[in-house]
């Protein structure tokens, strides 16, 4: 696998910069431009999905229906989930991969630049179509981001067909993105950049890409079955026609559980780059980390039904998925210890990216703990579909995945723009986010345990107090993200000049490039010792 990069690739490209005007962005095949597009798109979706979350939290601020009706509330929860998962988190990671993978492995660009352009430009159309359903008669999809049949088939609003088509487009985009990442990592590594020297971010993305290729077709399959049920008279999920609504959940979670890893593995990679940098020490147990991540690619397919403990699986099935989940949780869970061991006896400094990484470690671990609790099948009968679950997955996704994306942005932004970020503003953004996130999501554990189901627009009075606390937190968290927007724009427009290395403890090929990184990363392959 010792491929070096194609000679002519470097020759034909290395002397021209970006085209000008809108054409640059529409027709670009440059990995940095496309990465930038992905990241801005993701930020836009994050703010859109976030606005929906704020509407949800505003309605839930007090008992009673104040702002929206239940129909619309269900559309908001559904769209919020879909937009955050498929529009914010996943494209952000693809954007980071676009920017960083070629620079980290010493390549001039991604391996398949035209496909790269296409895989991005599908996305705005997919989401435009999905969001447009809000304005259709019958409203947008209202069956939750897990879209269980038959609520999403027989009983769905007409807009479900647009939703299905949009999911297909997102799937195509993700698969193309994944193929591109794999082709780049396997073929374009600089001489001497052997697989065993790959930075962890690259490793984690390689595994993520394989997972994406494995599960996106499953998602496409399940929505196609829905389409057939809705329009072509089949009865995959329609009990009246001899179909099986539980089959839907099996297929969905066979996609859904690996999807959870798709949203967290790149975060593991990012944190494993940032913590060593600011601890001025190599990552503790790099080998273990690589091996554990690789085995996840296989093991994550064996635990899907732990999302389905209350559907009435046979006892043997419940036990199987409980045992498998518990066994698999440990090797991934303990990777947190590696980060802690990396910090131990290091020489720590606390710049903004490090703060986000530290918050990630603590809060993601809290999400991991509640995950451990949810794996205990009998206890899950009390937790399932309550706010306890909402608290759990928001802890792994918001201060987990999203904090890692913010950490990555602050970490590599100086390399991208050539300017240092304003540390003061970065820290203010961090602390507001950190406080906001905990005020929002911690009380959700409490109301969940006290018995509040998820996805309800109104609730009994005993849940009122913590709900209003959570709503206040949500507004703090939500509005502090405007600071993030400000910080990014400010850093693009100016700031102290960044050195090439940027951070004192930084290691890796990307830091050997000038800041800002040139339009074509490595026109001459670097030599890696």
């Amino acid at each position: 696998m010792e491929t070096t990069l194609g000679q002519n690739l470097g020759d034909t490209h290395h002397d021209h910069g970006p085209a000008s005007g809108i054409g640059r962005w529409l027709f670009t095949t440059n990995h940095k431009d496309i990465g930038t597009l992905y990241l801005w798109f993701s930020l836009l979706m994050f703010l859109t999905g976030g606005t929906m979350a704020l509407l949800i939290r505003a309605e839930l601020f007090q008992p009673g229906l104040q702002l929206v009706q239940p129909e619309f509330f269900n559309q908001m929860t559904t769209m919020h989930g879909l937009i955050m998962v498929f529009g914010a988190v996943m494209p952000a990671f693809v954007g980071l991969a676009n920017w960083l993978v070629p620079m980290m492995i010493g390549a001039p660009d991604m391996a398949l630049p035209r496909m790269n352009n296409w895989s991005f430009w599908i996305l705005p159309f997919a989401f435009a179509m999905m969001i447009s359903t809000l304005f259709m008669e019958g409203g947008a999809p209202n069956f939750g981001w897990t879209f269980y049949a038959p609520l999403s088939t027989t009983y769905a609003p007409p807009s479900v067909t647009f939703f299905i088509f949009a999911v297909h487009m997102m799937g195509i985009s993700s698969i193309m993105g994944a193929i591109n990442v794999i082709a780049t990592i396997l073929n374009l590594r600089a001489p001497g950049m052997t697989m065993m020297k790959l930075p962890l971010f690259v490793w984690s993305w390689l595994i993520t890409a394989f997972l994406l290729i494995a599960v996106m077709p499953v998602l496409a399959g399940v929505v196609t079955m829905m389409l057939m049920d809705i329009h072509f008279g089949t009865s995959f999920f329609n009990a009246a026609g001899g179909g099986d609504p539980v089959l839907f959940q099996h297929v969905f979670w066979f996609f859904g559980h690996p999807e959870v890893y798709i949203m967290i593995l790149p975060a593991f990679g990012i944190i494993s780059e940032i913590i060593p940098t600011f601890a001025r020490k190599r990552l503790f147990g790099y080998a273990s980390m690589v091996y554990a991540i690789a085995s996840i690619a296989i093991l994550s397919f064996l635990v899907w039904a732990h999302h389905m403990f209350t559907v009435g699986l046979p006892l043997a099935g419940e036990l199987f998925f409980m045992f498998a989940t518990m066994l698999i949780a440990v090797p991934t869970g303990v990777k947190v210890f590696n980060w802690v061991a990396t910090m131990f006896r290091g020489s720590l400094t606390f710049e903004t990216p490090m703060l986000f990484a530290l918050a990630f470690v603590v809060l993601f671990t809290i999400g991991g703990f509640s995950g451990l609790m949810l794996a205990i099948a009998p206890a899950d009968f009390q937790y399932h579909d309550t706010y306890f679950v909402v608290a759990h997955f928001h802890y792994v996704l918001v201060p987990g995945a999203i904090f890692s994306i913010m950490a990555a942005t602050y970490f590599w932004l100086p390399k991208w723009t050539g300017h240092m970020i304003n540390e003061r503003m970065g820290k203010i953004h961090f602390w507001l986010s950190f406080v906001g996130v905990n005020i929002t999501f911690f009380p959700m554990h409490f109301v969940g345990l006290a018995g509040m189901p998820r996805r309800i627009p109104d609730y009994a009075l005993q849940f009122a107090d913590f709900n209003s606390v959570a709503s206040v937190g949500a507004f703090i968290f939500g509005f502090s993200q405007l600071l993030f927007l400000y910080n990014v724009i400010a850093c693009i427009r100016g700031g102290a000049r960044a050195t090439d290395r940027v951070w004192e403890g930084a290691h890796g090929l990307e830091w050997t490039l000038p800041s800002p990184a040139p339009y074509h990363s490595f026109s001459q392959p670097p030599v890696v010792k």
């Binding site: 296989i298 397919f301 064996l302 045992f323 498998a324």
Partner: protein, 70 residues
Amino acid sequence: MAEDPQKGGFLKTLQSVLAAMFGVQSEHRRLEDFSSHKPWRFILMGLAVAVVFVVLVMLLVRWALSLGAV
């Protein structure tokens, strides 16, 4: 290790895969594994071990049920 890394016996592959599933591996063994040019060895072994894992958990379930029924 004196052994030719290109070859890497069945047992060594198995050891590496088991280490991956357990989530701990030494740097030394990693260097050895990655000097192999046959990733398929590891992938196939990984799939096989996953099947064995499933069978083992199923046996565990059976055993638990047989205890519970008494």
